[in-house]
Symmetry: C2
């Protein structure tokens, strides 16, 4: 997971606004696309052609003003593969006219998908991962995104495989969980041939939103939770008024969700020296918390 920007509202010398890229088995998935995301993508040496899906949480400028630059750059680079962009209602009305105006004659299509922001919905699915929306509460329709890795294959026990002389052609079946029948009819159960697969990983992105504890069941056991922490708890009323969260609320959601780790972001420019304070506030509730930084990458 690569953080291209984790600032709120205004870009500052410390932070670009919201944008991240998940690399899942060399496919890149972008979440939010603030102004300058294409520049950060290039700085991070992330490969443009591997990016086919962009998930926008909501149509505030600090989460989507980088879209047109990226779409346009892809066109100039001669992209031919379709690009899919997901966002709540309004996406098509505001971006289709811009694409028509600025990208005449481009050789690929941009497919705009408006997503349901009211209930969790699977909007993307391939053999490696599924992506579902997380209903968030913000001033305008807004969704988070939950990336769930598909079940991984079991690990072969090479010594046992060799002992039973199981041919290489059968390895994928064994990894997938099949038992092995010997020439004499004896069945060797799969659990003797393999060890359990690595646990599947998941990633949830929740920004921008007020505190929504009702989302905890959907997020249950998530490996890494990115949650906005626009304010300190002392500003809770302001957080509620602006439909944002405090660091303490982010940590409480991580706790309720039994998240593996919490990553704080969406840092307000008004708190430029207070990120350690936001982090400490969250850690007092949920110790396994870290603070996002532009350019950071995390291997799950």
């Amino acid at each position: 997971m690569h953080i291209l920007g984790c600032g709120a509202a205004l870009p500052t010398p410390h932070h670009f606004c919201s944008s991240q890229v998940l690399n899942i088995r060399e496919k890149l998935f972008m979440i939010d696309c603030a102004e300058g995301s294409q520049i950060q993508l290039r700085r991070g040496h992330l490969k443009y052609p591997h990016l086919n899906n962009i998930f926008i949480t909501h149509l505030h400028g600090d989460h989507c003003f980088g879209l047109m630059g990226l779409i346009s750059t892809f066109a100039l680079l001669g992209r031919t593969a379709p690009l899919h962009i997901y966002a709540p209602t309004g996406l098509r009305d505001i971006f289709q006219p811009q694409i028509d105006f600025f990208c005449q004659g481009m050789e690929y299509t941009v497919q705009l998908h408006e997503v349901n922001h009211k209930e969790p919905t699977v909007i993307y699915d391939d053999r490696s991962v599924s992506v579902e929306t997380i209903p968030l509460k913000h001033r305008i329709p807004c969704v988070g995104y939950l990336f769930k890795e598909k079940q991984l294959p079991r690990h072969i026990r090479r010594d046992v495989i060799d002992a039973y002389h199981i041919p290489i052609s059968q390895i994928n079946n064994i990894k997938a969980g099949m038992d092995w029948q010997m020439p004499d009819g004896e069945v060797i159960p799969n659990h003797l041939l393999t060890t359990p697969p690595d646990p599947v990983r998941s990633y949830a992105y929740c920004s921008d939103t007020m505190f929504v504890p009702q989302n905890a069941p959907q997020l249950s056991g998530v490996s890494l939770l990115y949650h906005e922490a626009t304010f300190l708890q002392e500003q809770e009323l302001l957080a509620r008024k602006t439909f944002h969260s405090t660091a303490q609320q982010a940590a409480t959601l991580a706790q309720l969700s039994h998240a593996g780790k919490l990553l704080l972001g969406h840092f307000s420019s008004r708190y430029k020296d207070k990120e350690p304070q936001l982090l400490a506030e969250a850690q007092s509730v949920f110790p396994d918390t870290i603070a996002a930084q532009d350019g950071m990458h995390i291997i799950l």
Copy 2:
């Protein structure tokens, strides 16, 4: 004159795309506004509230994708002064819907002015400067901008003023060129009381455009000419085909215009190591040439 970006088409680690800011007696005038211009403005410590006028040459993304971020940031910072944006036809159709969508409830107005791109037209005038369009030839309607400083006041010769006991209340009139009548009726001509004013300065921005030598008379004697140099002369056919210029053509226009100095920009990412070659090519025709760099500032 501050260069926020001087790259062509695609932002790269070396260059943001086109944007500049002129500071004329503490008023800021922006020319073009590529993605990330607000970030560069902040990095350059330029004062947002002093920026009231933005001049866009044409509606290609690498010259205007930073507008919405800037407009939106001004709104978040509580701006109340109107912001004027000038550009060729199409500006209103493409930006007004975005402003209406992304900047609901903002406390200032954005006034969009569509300018004549077919003949030179004065579009801005205050007591310090006038701005006129320069008709350029590009794939879509495109104008350059010529900034002409107003005539400066003459310099007072303090020794002569004192000798004639001219009161302080009259100094501005004398600076403006008035003669002085002595109590006995004798007239002291202004040229004895003052020395000539500093020469007025002018700045012309010509990008994007093919070579248009017909513009030389309008640019005659310009103090500093910024001209695109997207290609080397060896690519002249490609330059013509894409409605861009070569470094040699930029220099030829500087020569025909008797410009004080030439500044090359709009560097293509395909030439990332060839900027010295572009510069050398131009200097062989017009020696007083320099190459733009992001973050450079020039005092005229």
